[in-house]
């Protein structure tokens, strides 16, 4: 083996360790008592305790935030998908100036700084007496989910062969039936990946949730960040437990995403 290959392998090993070790470490820390955690020399062997996890799981604020997160994120994602996927199909299939502009407009929604949405939204929701409600966050998140779903689904539909759709038309399917019975099933994996990605984005979203909620509609990331302010001593064990729980849903979606994203991005190369 050449020396350079060896060095490159070492680099890859280092990068992999940089991903695996901190995550394993956090998982371990979630089961440590503060006495085991707050030591100068990190401990690998310790008596695992379930206290941190049960503290996090049994807090009412966490249960409520979990419900909020689930309801808000799934509603925003579902609405975003219903609005976004058909729109993406039109942008992919009907190439003209209007759809090109629409595509760019959707992308430009991503340019908007979150603060620039959060501040006026705060004033609007206060004015409508909807501030700190789930509905207000769902509508706000719709900007994120719909635009990302469209952006990532367009390449998925562009890949669906025109010949297949042509064949469907010859067989007497109308445009709507072609979409639902031909194009959508063919592109389903990538489209699902796009929708899953939009879920991860809003599940992880912090700034908008922080500015648009005060108590009732708080989501999980807000609660997790608040735990660092409990009392004088940062409860690191509890914090680690919260981090583990908060990270689980996106990681569960990873399997789905791995297929979807790969395909979405390898599409780019055809143009490049």
């Amino acid at each position: 083996m050449k020396l350079s290959t060896l060095l490159l392998k070492l680099l890859l090993l280092f990068a992999a360790a940089l991903v695996v070790l901190p995550l394993l470490w956090t998982l371990l820390n979630a089961f440590k008592t503060n006495a085991d955690l707050l030591v100068s020399t990190p401990k690998l062997v310790f008596q695992p305790v379930w206290d941190n996890m049960s503290y996090v799981l049994n807090r009412r604020s966490v249960a409520r935030a979990l419900t909020n997160s689930l309801i808000i994120c799934s509603s925003a994602v579902l609405l975003g998908a219903v609005l976004g996927v058909p729109a993406a199909y039109v942008i992919a299939r009907f190439k003209n100036r209007i759809t090109a502009e629409a595509r760019f407009f959707v992308l430009s929604l991503r340019f908007l700084p979150p603060v620039a949405i959060a501040i006026p939204m705060l004033v609007i929701w206060l004015g409508l007496d909807l501030y700190d409600t789930r509905l207000s966050l769902i509508v706000t998140y719709l900007i994120v989910t719909a635009s990302i779903t469209i952006w990532l689904s367009v390449p998925a539909f562009e890949r669906v062969s025109l010949h297949v759709e042509e064949a469907a038309r010859v067989d007497g399917l109308g445009p709507y039936a072609t979409f639902f019975r031909v194009a959508l099933p063919i592109a389903r994996f990538q489209v699902f990946g796009a929708i899953a990605f939009s879920f991860v984005l809003v599940w992880n979203e912090f700034l908008l949730a922080m500015m648009l909620t005060t108590s009732k509609a708080k989501t999980l990331p807000i609660i997790a960040s608040e735990m660092s302010q409990l009392g004088m001593n940062v409860p690191w064990g509890i914090l680690n437990a919260a981090v583990v729980l908060l990270s689980l849903p996106p990681l569960i979606l990873l399997g789905v995403l791995a297929g979807g994203l790969n395909a979405a991005f390898s599409k780019k190369t055809d143009q490049g």
């Binding site: 976004g84 729109a87 407009f105 700034l207």
Partner: protein
Amino acid sequence: MRRGRSLPYVFLGPTLGILIVLALVPTIYAINISLQNRTLSAPNADYVWFANYLALFSDARFLNALWVSFKWEIISVTATMVTGLAIGIAMFEAASPRMRNILCVLFIIPVLLPRVCAAFVWKFAFHPLYGALTWPVRELTGITPDILSTPLGALLAVAFVDVWQWGLFFAVIILKLLESLPPQPLEAARIDRATRFEIHRFVTLPMLKAPLISLLLVKAIESLRSFDLVYVMTRGGPGISTETLDMYAYSQGFIEAGKISYASSMAVIMMVLTIVTFTFTWKRLNR
């Protein structure tokens, strides 16, 4: 009229309509609020027109935030691209197909983690007394290094977490891009006895110029969303050395003064800056 001609209108129309309303209403509101002297505590407000904007440019903290945001963009985007390229090429050159699959899944994990979580994981690793990352230094020298308390260290530490999330993810994308290239030019270069470095420098990377520039732009856009990282790791500190624009707007509008109009004028400036820059660049690239 042929059956189903309505499809483009039915599918695209409502979506575009809703998105335009959702984007335009806040934008108009933001501009409107920024021309007033509204605060969170008082319900009434008067129009002060451009007073907020004028005040901003004599506000040293705003100019600092502008400078920090600029530094943040440059550092995080450059470091992410360099890491992505280095690790992407390393995977392309030195990893077997099986290894590549495992590494790709691993390298996608960080970007999927909530940024709040990523920030906590590393904040604890950097902890001067108990951190696993600072442990060797403690053991060997006896001093307790507090990276997050120095201005430069804090900025670099936050950037490190950002690169941990995005750089590794970009490595996966860059690997996929490299795999999609036709093999002939690479073989020709190998026959000409080009070294690996030369192959990538003169053959593959120029071929991937367009997608790489799009990636750079995507990262530049995502780098604007650094609020959660900064908020959890440093709160803009020490002092105001990592206070980015969104952090400062947040503290002006919500924590310190509740000066929602002042914060809004900042948001409007950010919005104009980013939209003009990115629209211009994107349109130029895709011409």
